[in-house]
Amino acid sequence: MCVGPASGERQQVVKGDAAERRPFLRLENLTKRFDQTTAVDDVSVSLDRGEMLALLGPSGSGKTTTLRLLAGFEVPDAGRVLVENDDVTAVEPVRRRFGMVFQHYALFPHLDVGENVAFGLESLGVRGDALNGRVARALALVDLAGYERRRVGQLSGGQQQRVALARALAPEPRVLLLDEPLSNLDPALRERTRREIRELIRRLGITTVFVTHEQDEAFDLGDRVALLRAGRLEQVGTPEDLYALPSNAFVAEFIGRSTSIGVTVIGPGERGLRVAVEQVEWDLTEGLTPGVTQGPALMVVRPEALRLTQPTTGAIPGRITERRFTGSASLYAVLTAGGTTLEVSGPPRSVSIGDQVGIMPSRRAGGGIHLFPAVPA
């Protein structure tokens, strides 16, 4: 196993002494403007060697531009890209030694599979038997051993994707970049390919940045996730952090299912913080963002952090308007008296559309309710 720059030995360095570890790849204050719009706005992230970072965000959030800045296809208006303290911002893509898998793979249609994989190795001057051996090894990595002489056009989408991965990995790049690597695969294949990519990259220990607009993919593949909006980095963290400790309302709403409702924070209550939601008052203990201790706030709630009750005191009154069966539970849309729709998780078939119900915080809300400063309308 010699494909990929970092094998066991290097990984141990990373895991060895956490106090002394230096980031392998650093994005420092990257900024890129196109005409009037700022596509990437002061983005800074660091990656350890062998780490996998997901760039997640809605379309137009600047994630692809960030990836292209990393690859060197775009030149930042400000900021730097560093690999092991080596500033590569001005290094052309050709000499940067960052491998990339393109969204539509960009396989060379006139070359066969082997020639595609050999392309990057030839740039390094690898020839003859060494070349053939490394092509074969790269193809074996992606389970396509013996596919050298196939034409690219004869391959299925999943196979093309793997050839693209083998081609990017064969020259042993310092960093691997993946642009929406799974977006062109059908859902069933996507799941499996995702698992294969994760295992392969873990095994090779190659530092990887990938772009996706799907939260599942980001959570499944990424050691950490960088959530972008309108070019700005909203939060970087492990998937668990982003889910349980969102730093603002956008993160809370973008990650996972949630609905939000305007509330007023009254002050300290018997247990935790006392909050007025429509006509009722709740004492909330968990998932509170420090800083909102008084006044209007936005409450973002996961469906499982709420429960349905009979319309009683202490419960927000509402009417069921929609029911979606998801297997183990149902998701109910409840139109509150105040005119907000909240999504509440509950046992399937416990209530029907049109029923009058009450909404209470779930006893095991566990990080499912978040308060953020109210955004002035």
Binding site: F73, H104, L111, S123
Partner: protein
């Protein structure tokens, strides 16, 4: 640094094109207003005074419009028929409909002469059958020109319409049917609007080609003058300044037409469109309709094929043996042997070969540079370059011939003018200028169709600019390059209109030799040259298409 170098290259290319394309036209315009004693409007006045000038301009205009109408009338229904219906002989006929495209203009004209002319097969046959004293018709004047135009130019409408129909998704027809639209309503509301821009493109191409047409009016015009033949006649009379004014007037008509049809897209938009699923063919079920369709199909096939067959037949006729018989009485290989063995006869073949090759290589190189610049980021400069490359297309060949002959007849290096008239370089230069639009359009379309991600992929794999060009860009451009080059070569190889004004004895091309053979009543040799031209054109087209699809 890299950007700088590319920028300098672009500026150099721009200057070269201005010198080759714009400058000669400007000089022609200026010369038309200069007399021996300085600036003058004398020639303009002369132009407006003479009745035959207006008549020639009007002739050019109406012949071109009538050609568009005729070509559309034949080409569009034919394309629709092939796209929608299955009928007996569809396959064979499908291979034949584009046949007129392999006939270089002059060759088509002489084939018509042998076939439908006063002493051609058809008229002799009719005369014999009806026992007439005189030939039944004379192939002369506007009617004769229109006949040749319709035969050779319906192909534009046919090809444009087919290309557009090929990108029409069958689901749209099914959608129309499911919404209750009958065949006619679907045709009127769905198919025609979809075809609109392609039809405009076909109309523009046909109009421009007809306006610039020279061979047919030159051979069949007789007393009927169009502007292209008028210019040549005026020039031969030595009225150079008046010829300049005529040239300017024809250019003006061309530019006005271009402006009117400016919404028309170029072919590249058609080929680059999304690919639809072709609808299944509707078989013609009614028995007698099948018979009628079959007969019409075979008649059409015969009409399409006859000029080629005629040329082939006549090329085997010994000099002076065929006079009034419906079919030539004697046959020989000698005409072809003469082309190879007689140095005087073989010289034009070699001339045309090297002239066309040189012009094609130069055009491809320029088109490659321009296409590459078009996909880079220097938009303004690239757009000017593309505009200059397209300009010769809008200007009739006669005009360019005059312009080049005028611009390069003076030795004044400081003003960018050198003497090329009378040298062997003027003709390939003229071919090159005329080839620029076709070649650059094909190559630029090829560049545009390339996925920019392929370049980026090559870069991430460490391939520099040259390696990317050699290993990725050029191999992928091969179909476009072959298409552009084959079109350019065929056009230059069979060129007549610029050659007649610019050739020297040393560079006399095939077309001029055909003309002189005809003048010496050596029809066999003229036809043999025609067959060679036709065969080489067809072969080059075939190679272009074959290499294109293999890539």
């Amino acid at each position: 640094m890299r950007r700088r170098q590319g920028g300098a290259g672009a500026v150099a290319l721009l200057l070269l094109l201005i010198w080759l394309v714009v400058y000669p036209l400007v000089i022609v315009l200026i010369e038309g207003f200069r007399g021996p004693g300085g600036w003058t409007l004398e020639y303009l006045r002369l132009f407006f005074q003479r009745h035959n000038e207006a008549a020639a301009l009007w002739g050019s205009l109406w012949i071109s419009l009538a050609t568009v109408a005729l070509a559309a009338l034949i080409g569009i229904p034919l394309a629709y028929l092939f796209w929608r219906y299955d009928f007996p002989g569809r396959r064979i006929l499908g291979g034949l409909v584009a046949l007129p495209a392999v006939l270089p203009p002059l060759v088509g004209v002489i084939a018509f002469l042998f076939l439908y002319g006063e002493s051609g097969f058809t008229s002799l046959l009719v005369q014999r059958v009806l026992r007439l004293e005189e030939p039944p018709w004379r192939l002369q004047g506007a009617g004769a020109i229109l006949l040749v135009h319709a035969y050779s130019m319906y192909v534009y409408f046919y090809l444009f319409t087919r290309a557009a129909l090929a990108s029409l998704d069958a689901a749209q027809l099914e959608a129309a049917a499911s919404l209750g639209a009958g065949r006619w309503r679907t045709l009127r509301r769905v198919v025609f609007p979809f075809l609109y821009s392609a039809l405009m493109g076909g109309a523009l191409l046909t109009f421009m080609t007809a306006l610039a047409s020279f061979s047919a009016p030159y051979i069949f015009g007789g007393g009927f003058r169009v502007m292209t033949t008028q210019i040549v006649a005026t020039r031969l009379n030595g009225d150079d300044q008046l010829a300049m004014i005529e040239t300017a007037s024809l250019t003006l008509v061309a530019l006005v037409a271009l402006w009117f049809l400016r919404g028309a897209p170029s072919t590249e938009n058609l080929s680059g469109g999304r690919k639809g699923i072709a609808p299944s063919l509707i078989p013609i079920r009614s028995r007698w309709l099948r018979v009628v369709a079959g007969i019409l199909g075979w008649v059409l096939a015969l009409v399409l094929l006859l000029p080629h067959l005629t040329l082939l037949l006549v090329s085997f006729v010994p000099a002076g043996t065929w006079t009034t018989e419906p079919l030539p009485p004697a046959y020989t290989w000698r005409n072809y042997l003469a082309l190879v063995q007689d140095p005087v006869r073989s010289r034009p073949l070699l001339n045309s070969l090297w002239l066309a090759t040189a012009a094609t290589i130069a055009a491809v190189v320029i088109a490659l540079l321009a296409g590459w610049m078009a996909v880079q980021r220097r938009r303004a400069l690239a757009r000017s370059i593309q505009g200059l490359l397209a300009l010769p297309w809008a200007v009739p060949g006669t005009v360019f011939a005059i312009a080049l002959a005028t611009a390069f007849s003076v030795h004044a290096p400081l003003t960018g003018r050198i003497i090329l008239v009378g040298t062997i370089w003027l003709l390939p230069l003229a071919y090159l200028v005329r080839n620029l639009p076709i070649t650059s359009r094909a190559v630029t379309a090829g560049f545009r169709a390339l996925d920019p991600a392929l370049d980026e992929a090559a870069a991430t794999l460490g391939a520099g600019r040259w390696r990317t060009l050699r290993r990725v860009t050029l191999p992928l451009l091969r179909p476009a390059l072959m298409a552009g080059a084959s079109l350019a070569f065929v056009t230059a190889f069979g060129d007549f209109v610029t050659s007649i004004m610019l050739y020297t004895y040393d560079t006399r091309p095939i077309s001029m030799e055909i003309l002189s053979s005809l003048r010496q009543s050596d029809v066999g040799v003229a036809a043999a040259y025609g067959v060679v031209l036709m065969a080489v054109s067809a072969a080059v087209f075939a190679i272009g298409a074959d290499r294109g699809s293999a890539g």
